[in-house]
């Protein structure tokens, strides 16, 4: 326990997320809140994806399926069954973690490119299934009755409420990422990433560890999905299972630093800010996708370890405070 209390890296990580997250609450500005909502959402998605991608070394293109399924379960419970957003989000998380545990047990047998392709297939299969499933609105999706927000003191308060919940979830997901990284279980995952067969020989129960990591990575995306679509007031398959968002999550991890705790936080914030800037600047507005592509290519070729990884390699002293 003392080990954690004395670790400056833990404090720095918590502080960064907390200070940035509380900022909109102080300024009470709705625009800052909306910007921050997206950043925190991506921090959560990237941090949890990093457990599978960065620590365990499995390239998951279908991470967004947890977000989408969680969003659908939570939204259905809120909009159709009249649940409060908190129990709905928890139920969504539980359902999606179960789904991830079962799915992980099956597809984590695959390695390398086969695993990556299978995750794309799972996301597309689930999305096209939802498109055809009329009970959840099929291709048009579902809408929430505006009066639902009255339970939270009107739409304005509901949005702030969703934001505060998201801030808590983001903190929790970054802490989860930190504790996995510093635990013995996390070391096992890193060993699997470096050489799975050697890890097995050393007595790491790789299949079990991988499945647990996969399930852990599903907890928070499901909650974020519920919060996001609760805030939006509607949900449709195209928004919930967008493959592109999965890949953006990977880009953020690469940008910040693959396999580090701070990396996804830095990467998600930088990428979101940069995109906001590109979208509003007249010069790059039409070219923002191409620009992001060039940036990604440059990072992979020249700084493959990302910002945080580069700092850690370049200045070894930084390692104490930058996990």
């Amino acid at each position: 326990m003392m080990r954690y209390v004395r670790d400056p890296a833990l404090w720095l990580t918590t502080l960064v997320v907390l200070v940035a997250g509380v900022w909109p609450l102080i300024t009470r500005s709705a625009t800052t809140r909306e910007d921050m909502f997206l950043i925190l959402m991506f921090v959560t998605l990237a941090s949890s994806l990093n457990i599978v991608l960065g620590y365990t070394g499995y390239v998951n293109f279908g991470h967004i399926v947890f977000f989408g399924l969680g969003g659908y379960i939570g939204f259905y419970l809120i909009a159709e069954k009249g649940w409060h957003v908190i129990p709905a989000a928890l139920a969504a998380s539980l359902g999606v973690v179960l789904f991830a545990a079962i799915l992980g047990g099956i597809i984590l047998r695959l390695r390398g490119a086969y695993f990556a392709l299978a995750t794309i297939g799972v996301n597309e299969a689930v999305r096209s299934f939802i498109v055809n499933w009329d009970a959840v609105g099929g291709a048009v999706g579902m809408e929430m009755n505006f009066s639902r927000y009255q339970d939270y003191g009107g739409p304005m308060n509901a949005l702030w409420f969703a934001y505060i919940l998201l801030l808590i979830v983001t903190l929790a997901s970054v802490l989860l990422s930190y504790f996995v990284r510093t635990s013995k279980f996390g070391l096992g995952l890193l060993a699997i990433r470096e050489d799975e067969d050697a890890a097995l020989v050393l007595g790491i129960p790789a299949p079990k560890a991988k499945t647990i990591a996969f399930a852990l990575s599903a907890i928070f995306p499901a909650i974020v999905g519920t919060l996001f679509f609760f805030k939006n007031g509607n949900i449709e398959p195209g928004d919930a299972f967008r493959l592109h968002m999965s890949v953006e999550g990977i880009v953020m991890i690469m940008l910040g630093g693959y396999g580090t705790v701070m990396g996804p936080v830095v990467g998600a914030a930088t990428y979101e800010r940069l995109r906001g800037f590109l979208l509003t600047s007249p010069l790059f507005k039409n070219l923002q996708l191409a620009f992001a592509g060039v940036l990604l290519l440059l990072i992979i070729i020249f700084v493959p370890s990302g910002v945080v990884g580069w700092l850690r390699n370049r200045f070894p002293k930084v390692r104490r405070i930058l996990a």
Binding site: Y114, A118, A125, S128, I250, N286, L287, I300, I301
Partner: protein, 284 residues
């Protein structure tokens, strides 16, 4: 019965084109172990190549295809030098991401130049009646061109020196290097071939259906399904996989709402990757 037969034949014809697209993906994977995530963007680029030559210069789409073929090989070799070669020895993730970055660049620039409004190539070759089945001329020609390109590729791979070198490098790069094969040049050329196949099939698809710069994604996913059906890295399997996918797409609408097609395709995809990752042709 006639409806069934007609959609079967239709499916088969399109299946050849799908198979050709998937051959590009599977060739690159087989030779250098890279899953090319810019495949869909390259297909879209091929569509626009033929489209622009047709609307801009009034060139016949099938002649335009020849130019696209040459451009494809050159573009592929350039892409290899920029996005693949520096990363070939790194982890899987780096080439997945670098090819995805290429796709973002192509689609980003493409969206700016062409917007995402759907286009189509206005070409009508009449139709052919074959017993109870009426075939659209464009589909028959597209299938024939696909067969021609696939056969050409097969002869090239088995009968020419460069083709044999490609197979040698795919088999074992170090051993190929030892017997004097310039493996870097061969890898670059293979990537060029894969790109060419994607672009040519894109050009063929453009003569059949309306398309936009974003259409590539759908065909990229189809190519993944086909590659896994036929076994990743196996071009003959890819052609067969394309036919199977074409048949599925032809048959499903006869029995159930057409919306279920992707559900069945992707479920099949995940099942095959789990049960027989080497594809239906491959050894267990």
């Amino acid at each position: 019965m006639d409806v069934l037969l007609a959609s079967l034949v239709d499916g088969l014809l399109i299946g050849f084109v799908y198979g050709l697209a998937a051959m590009g993906l599977t060739l690159i994977f087989g030779v250098m172990d890279v899953v090319n995530l810019s495949h869909g963007a390259l297909i879209a680029l091929g569509m626009f190549g033929v489209y622009l030559l047709f609307t801009g210069l009034g060139l016949n789409p099938y002649l335009g295809l020849l130019i696209v073929l040459v451009l494809g090989i050159i573009l592929g070799m350039i892409l290899y030098a920029i996005a693949i070669h520096p990363l070939l020895d790194g982890p899987h993730l780096s080439t997945l991401l670098s090819t995805f970055a290429v796709s973002m660049i192509i689609i980003g620039v493409g969206t700016m130049l062409f917007t995402s409004t759907p286009r189509n190539i206005d070409i009508n070759l009449g139709s052919m009646v074959l017993g109870p089945v009426r075939l659209q001329g464009t589909r028959v020609v597209a299938a024939l061109v696909a067969i021609l390109v696939a056969t050409g590729l097969y002869i090239f791979m088995y009968r020419t020196h460069v083709g044999k070198s490609i197979r040698a490098v795919a088999n074992n790069r170090d051993a190929a290097e030892l017997v004097g094969i310039p493996s870097v040049r061969i890898l670059a050329f293979s990537f060029g071939l894969g790109t060419m196949l994607a672009m040519v099939s894109g050009g063929l698809i453009a003569t059949l259906f309306p398309f936009s710069i974003l259409s590539g994604g759908t065909y990229e996913l189809k190519s993944f399904v086909i590659c896994v059906l036929g076994g990743l890295g196996n071009p003959t399997g890819a052609l067969l996989g394309g036919l199977i996918l074409g048949l599925i797409e032809g048959l499903i609408p006869v029995f159930m709402p057409v919306g279920w097609t992707p559900v069945i395709e992707f479920t099949l995809f995940v099942l095959i990757i789990l049960i027989r990752p080497s594809g239906i042709l491959g050894a267990r």
